[in-house]
């Protein structure tokens, strides 16, 4: 039975391969989408991940950074610095806005840095200075490359002109890049004198961040204080939520496409093998065995499609990032495993259609000439 099934698949090699290729395409489409989405979401939290203070302090009720706005009176952070166990508090101003370089606009986290303090600045530089003075800006190197800007070029943030003094690495994402200006410039743009957006709290070694965060919230009125891991998690979830529905939708479409392709192939192959299936029935093969043979076919095709998609995803994804550095791809094991499970379900669903046809095959047709 196995041998017959496999060899019959072999004689229909073109349609089998085409089908496996189609399935691979559908799976790859979903994998790629998930990889882009995950990579971008990861990139959105790149800034806060790299800052890694023990605690983030922000306006009461705010719990993350992406798409959020937070203003805290600066004297509240002065109070935090005074607390036992706190080593240092770094203030940043922050706004989510468009940065225009050349004729391109980028959605960007603009971070205002206290002059001379590198704690909250870019973590890797390609060239230039990492701490912008008044009228100066540090932009992602990729951002500069794709818009033709460079050191000394002029870019605008909220209609104000800045001169590029530094090109940073790891700060680019299609959805959300990071640029740095001086604290004073951002005060002007935001008309936010006397406030800061976030305080990055570094504790003395051996302190308990969770306990300290609770103490800050208790002792300084109307601020939220979150340990770093929780803050990152909140931000990542927020970033994910933005695209989750789209990806879930595409996942359904991709899987449905795979089902359709496999079901169609199975259908074509069953109808082409109709005569032989009738002969097999006449010779005494049970409906169940024939059905098994059809399911085996769809499982094989699906597995082949999945394997091709897997190989391409793992082999080609890194190369895509090499050639198109703007796109951050992250192929996760979770994504691959989920796709594997989907593939299995897809194969079984797809096999239901021809199963009906198998039942319809009449062994008496074997007698026809």
């Amino acid at each position: 039975m196995m041998r017959w099934t496999l060899k019959s698949l072999g004689t229909q090699i073109a349609s089998t391969l085409a089908s496996a290729g189609g399935v691979a395409g559908a799976f790859l489409f979903v994998l790629f989408l998930e990889a882009v989405f995950l990579g971008e979401s990861k990139q959105i939290v790149a800034y806060i991940e790299h800052m890694e203070p023990d605690i983030w302090v922000m306006q009461h009720g705010v719990s993350n950074m992406h798409m959020a706005s937070s203003f805290v009176w600066d004297w509240k952070l002065d109070a935090v610095v005074e607390m036992d166990g706190v080593e240092k508090v770094t203030s940043i101003l922050y706004v989510n806005t468009m940065v225009r370089a050349g004729d391109r606009d980028w959605f960007t986290y603009v971070v205002g840095l206290v002059e001379g303090d590198k704690r909250a600045g870019p973590w890797a530089m390609k060239s230039g200075s990492a701490s912008p003075g008044p009228g100066e800006i540090v932009i992602p190197a990729l951002f500069a490359e794709s818009s033709g800007a460079g050191l000394g070029s002029s870019v605008s943030v909220a209609d104000k002109k800045f001169t590029v003094v530094g090109l940073s690495l790891g700060t680019f994402s299609m959805a959300n890049s990071v640029a740095f200006v001086s604290f004073g410039d951002l005060v002007n743009i935001l008309s936010a004198g006397g406030t800061v957006s976030y305080g990055l709290v570094d504790l003395e070694p051996g302190s308990d961040a969770a306990a300290m965060a609770r103490r800050i919230e208790a002792e300084v009125e109307k601020v939220s204080a979150l340990p770093h891991p929780e803050f990152v998690r909140n931000d990542f979830n927020m970033a994910m939520r933005m695209g989750v529905d789209v990806v879930a939708f595409m996942r359904v479409i991709g899987s449905a496409l795979a089902v359709a392709i496999i079901a169609f192939t199975a259908l074509v192959q069953v109808s082409r093998r109709r005569r032989e299936l009738a002969i097999a029935k006449a010779l005494g093969v049970t409906n169940r065995s024939i059905y098994f043979s059809v399911v085996l076919q769809t499982v094989l095709i699906t597995t082949a499609g999945y394997a091709v998609a897997l190989a391409l995803a793992l082999g080609v994804a890194p190369m895509i990032s090499l050639f198109v550095p703007e796109v951050t791809l992250l192929v996760s094991t979770g994504s691959l495993l989920r796709m594997g499970a989907v593939a299995l379900v897809v194969a079984v669903i797809a096999a239901m259609v021809p199963a009906y046809m198998v039942n319809q095959v009449d062994p008496l047709t074997a007698f026809q000439g």
Binding site: E276, I279, K281, A282, L283, G284, V285, G369
Partner: protein, 281 residues
């Protein structure tokens, strides 16, 4: 309780459709066939031969009546039990060979072996033996599409015999072969089944087989009738000169008030291409 007869059929009928359009393909047929018997079923086209054969082989349920094969009443069996009966008790030989295109000669012969206990491994020696006996040694690893018609039908015969069923059912097994090849194939089939004491129920239009058959059943309009062997109306095939019973012939051709009868589709084709060549000769 073992039965001395391989097949007992009692009042078997098969009706297709209902009302005005109802066809009584087989109508109240009763028969008994013993072990080792060679029985011919003959009759005009549409008389119910294939339908009867299908019912005897457990492929088709009668509308009425009961059929017993090798002591098992197959007419009361569940649908799901019939495939096993076919695999163990019946070997089928079809007019159109019906080999699996993707499988080699040996794999085709072994195909039904997977359906019985022991499976393919246990059946290998038997397959070897049949391959020798049917003179297929050179063709063992060939695919069906590379075989001649006669070779294909020999493979089909080996496949029918692989599980050593007591009953072989053959529906016009030589219908797609020319008369010489057909005769060879027929002789091989009878040889082996005689040697192995298997019963053969054979549907054929070939009158030459009548001489070696133990019994001839004449089917007409779904009913069994007695027919004495003198009832032939012999004519000659204008192409090969073979003697044919005009009554049962299927390959016929009419032209300007003359009716010609042929042993096979081959002869008919040749004749139709150039009738004058044969008529005036």
């Amino acid at each position: 309780m073992a039965s001395s007869k391989l097949i007992r059929a009692d009042g078997v009928s098969k009706h297709f459709g209902t009302g005005h359009t109802q066809v009584r393909a087989v109508d109240g047929v009763s028969l008994k066939i013993g072990y080792g018997e060679l029985v011919l079923i003959m009759g005009p086209s549409g008389s119910g031969k294939t339908t009867l054969l299908s019912m005897l082989g457990g492929l088709l349920r009668p509308t009425q009546g009961r059929i017993e094969v090798a002591g098992t009443e197959i007419t009361v069996m569940k649908e799901a039990e019939l495939p096993d009966v076919r695999a163990r008790l019946v070997g089928f030989v079809f007019q159109s060979f019906n080999l699996m295109e993707a499988l080699t000669v040996e794999e085709n012969i072994l195909f039904p072996a997977q359906l019985i206990p022991g499976g393919i491994a246990a059946a290998r020696p038997r397959a070897r033996e049949l391959i020798e006996r049917l003179n297929l040694r050179e063709r063992r690893d060939s695919l069906p599409k590379t075989l001649s018609g006669g070779e294909k039908q020999r493979v089909a015969i080996a496949r029918a015999l692989i599980n050593e069923p007591p009953l072989i059912l053959a529906d016009e097994p030589t219908g797609n072969l020319d008369s010489r090849t057909g005769q060879e194939v027929m002789m091989i089939l009878f040889d082996i089944t005689r040697d192995e004491n298997r019963s053969v129920v054979l549907v054929t239009h070939d009158p030459r087989v009548e001489e070696i058959a133990d019994r001839i059943l004449w089917l007409e309009d779904g009913k069994l009738r007695d027919r004495k062997s003198e009832d032939h109306s012999w004519v000659r095939d204008p192409v090969c000169g073979m003697r044919i019973d005009e009554w049962t012939a299927v390959h016929t051709w009419e032209r300007s008030d003359s009716k010609y009868v042929f042993c096979s589709a081959r002869c008919k084709e040749r004749f139709v291409e150039a009738p004058d060549q044969y008529v005036n000769a």
